[in-house]
């Protein structure tokens, strides 16, 4: 093969247009639910989700997959990937002009939702098609709004949680409630605290930023460059001041939450954190965390948000994905998910409105012991700010704190 042939071949590949076309099935938006069930039955649904937690994986693997198989004969397949991986894969597919995606369904929240909307990677609106959507508490601002963005039916709420800080009560009697208390705590007890350089850690930074700004009011609505530039430098200054007393002298930060949990479990750290306020209970139940573990929300508050399920624009099996999402929003699946021994993820349903029988089951779920009650955490709940804050914080945390 002469070189010019090779070049020609490359050029063809580069500029030659779209690949195989999307499946010819009708857009489910035009179908009734019965027709969607008919079309989705027997399909294969590829879901991409964060798989960093054994209990969540077990819930999917041992409960959801067999259930959708027996109900709809759907083969649900899982692949590991967080928000940024999902965005990069879907963007790459769009760049290549693909007619269909390798991923049908994604588990996302705010910042991924925002980016997927930017690249026009989501299918919808679809949630009003789902029968179980009627139970969902869309009026709750922590559910119906995702990072200040109305969800508009483009993603279905799946769980509602609040960030909790977990500490070992044997090592710490009074956990720090404010930024000053945290500073004096780490100075007195170096090496026991750190911030994971991922979603959960960035969420804590948002709460800290709001505290520095004197409250969450300034962060309502769209991203405000002025607000960010006023307060973010103070946050970096604060962190740089105390980071010599962090884990590994603040020279590096854990990249994964699971790694941080593991170090907490072994006693290397006295703190870890979770976007799931029930996690402390289920980790202690499993014997992973020491029994002296407790969760709390510091006085400056923590982010409360929801996580969602979306369908990709180029999904090959949209109807089947809708069936899976509908099942995941069902009172039955939500009940199971909220059980602290299963996952402990807060439901997005309005329990008050549910039929009597299932409502009492919700009310009789074994309550958690090691974390404060949900009602008690709510007064300290902060709304998610615009996703741009998250993007800027994670960029600048790297620039000014990790590399700084």
């Amino acid at each position: 093969m002469k070189p010019n042939y090779i070049l020609l071949f490359i050029l063809t590949l580069l500029w030659g247009c779209s690949g195989p076309n999307a499946s010819s099935s009708t857009d489910p938006a035009k179908l009734s639910w019965e027709e969607i069930v008919e079309q989705g039955r027997g399909g294969v649904v590829q879901m991409m989700m964060w798989q960093g937690d054994p209990l969540i994986n077990a819930y999917m693997q041992d409960y959801v997959i067999p259930e959708v198989k027996s109900r709809y004969d759907i083969d649900l397949k899982l692949a590991n990937g967080q928000g940024n991986t999902i965005v990069s894969i879907l963007a790459a597919e769009l760049e290549a002009g693909q007619g269909s995606s390798e991923i049908d369904m994604v588990w996302i929240n705010g910042e991924t939702f925002y980016q997927l909307k930017q690249i026009n990677g989501l299918y919808g609106p679809f949630t009003d098609k789902l029968p179980n959507s009627e139970w969902v508490n869309h009026e709750n601002p922590f559910i119906g709004t995702d990072f200040q963005q109305p969800i508009n039916g483009m993603e279905a709420p799946w769980g509602s949680v609040q960030q909790a800080i977990i500490y070992n009560s044997e090592m710490i009697s009074e956990p720090p409630q404010s930024l000053e208390e945290l500073a004096s705590f780490v100075e007195a007890n170096p090496g026991l605290f750190t911030i994971p350089n991922e979603f959960t850690g960035m969420s804590l930074l948002k709460a800290m930023l709001m505290d520095i700004a004197g409250g969450p009011e300034a962060f309502k609505g769209a991203f405000d460059e002025g607000v960010y530039n006023t307060y973010a430098p103070q946050l970096w200054e604060y962190l740089n001041r105390i980071k010599p007393y962090f884990w590994k002298q603040g020279e590096t930060f854990p990249a994964q939450l699971a790694a941080m949990h593991q170090m907490f479990a072994s006693g290397e750290l006295a703190f870890t954190m979770s976007m799931n306020d029930s996690e402390v209970d289920n980790k202690v139940l499993q014997g992973i965390f020491p029994e002296s573990s407790r969760a709390y929300v510091p006085a400056f508050g923590t982010i409360r948000n929801s996580h969602y399920l979306g369908i990709t624009k180029l999904a090959q099996h949209k109807a089947a994905a809708m069936l899976v999402i509908d099942f995941l929003s069902s009172p039955e699946a939500q009940l199971k998910k909220q059980d602290p021994t299963v996952w402990g993820d807060g439901t997005v349903l309005e329990v008050e409105n549910l039929p009597e029988e299932i409502r009492s089951q919700f009310e009789n779920l074994p309550s958690r012991i090691l974390a404060p009650k949900r009602e008690d955490m709510l007064p300290r709940a902060l709304m998610e700010p615009d996703p741009e804050y998250m993007i800027r914080i994670s960029k600048d945390f790297r620039k000014f704190v990790i590399e700084g």
């Binding site: 071949f9 940024n84 990069s88 963007a91 090496g191 590994k248 854990p254 006693g267 290397e268 590399e403």
Partner: protein, 280 residues
């Protein structure tokens, strides 16, 4: 006819993807391909050069590769010189092959379970009373000097080098050479340092160099045992490729290109100089 077919197969599987990949990366980095491509721009290149992260990452990768290979070479040389016969028969002649069956991911996992603060060594020092708590065990993973990464790579490389050296030792009849040197009055240490070691290293220069480059571009080990900054070059590239900010993607391709150009140039020069490409 077969010949033309064979060469075509070769070009299809090696040259075509390589050329296609590099051209795509170049176009992307210049804003000419991709979802955000809005026409020709040098902005991405300028920002990468201004940022300096890539240079730190390259320097860090070079440091890790040099340290790992030096350690592995020293260990392998020492064992070949001192314990050669033990590796030719008996238990070591079997056991030494086992580490060759460890993938990088598993090497990283093992290192973490050995060297971490809650790892086996920390438990042993605690049991022996050398450390009084888990916190007092030194930082050996995710640490400043990349000790965990270097340990893992050395663990993987030293058996390979050792077997390589053993082969050369026999192939080059170093035993006889040693005898001659001895009869001429050279001491054991002198022979090892001035004759055996240089011959072993020189004969295997190409293999050592290729392993060096392999460490330079390694991914799984620094991903699991490294720090958040600086990161080794493959980890940095993939992080830039898969970040929240889509604007980072062209930068990922620029880093990949810089790395490719540097490594390929270094490789071509060294391979040309070594005898590996000469006709046998």
């Amino acid at each position: 006819m077969y010949k033309a077919l064979g060469i075509r197969w070769f070009l299809l599987l090696t040259v075509l993807p390589l050329a296609a990949g590099l051209i795509y990366a170049l176009l992307y980095s210049l804003g000419l391909a991709g979802i955000l491509g809005n026409g020709f721009t040098l902005a991405y290149w300028q920002s990468v050069f201004a940022e300096g992260v890539v240079w730190r990452s390259l320097g860090y990768s070079a440091y890790i590769a040099t340290a790992s290979m030096s350690l592995a070479c020293l260990l392998a040389l020492g064992l070949v010189i001192k314990l050669r016969t033990a590796f030719q028969k008996g238990i070591l002649s079997y056991v030494i092959y086992f580490p060759l069956a460890i993938p990088a991911m598993v090497a990283a996992f093992i290192s973490f379970q050995l060297l971490g603060k809650a790892g086996l060594f920390s438990r042993l020092t605690y049991a022996l009373g050398l450390t009084e708590s888990l916190q007092s065990f030194p930082d050996l993973v995710n640490d400043f000097w990349g000790i965990g990464i270097i340990f893992s790579h050395s663990l993987m490389a030293f058996p390979f080098l050792l077997l390589l050296f053993l082969g050369t030792y026999e192939g080059e009849r170093l035993g006889e050479l040693k005898q001659i040197a001895k009869t001429l009055g050279a001491g054991e240490g002198y022979i090892s340092r001035k004759i055996v070691a240089p011959i072993l290293l020189k004969q295997n220069f190409a293999a050592i160099l290729l392993y060096f480059i392999f460490v330079l571009g390694s991914y799984e080990i620094p991903l699991l045992l490294g720090r958040e900054a600086p990161q080794m070059i493959s980890v940095l590239t993939i992080r830039k490729l898969q970040r929240y900010d889509l604007l980072d993607k062209p930068e990922a391709y620029i880093i990949a290109l810089i790395y490719c150009v540097l490594v390929l140039t270094a490789m071509v020069i060294s391979l040309r100089r070594s005898k590996i490409l000469q006709k046998n």
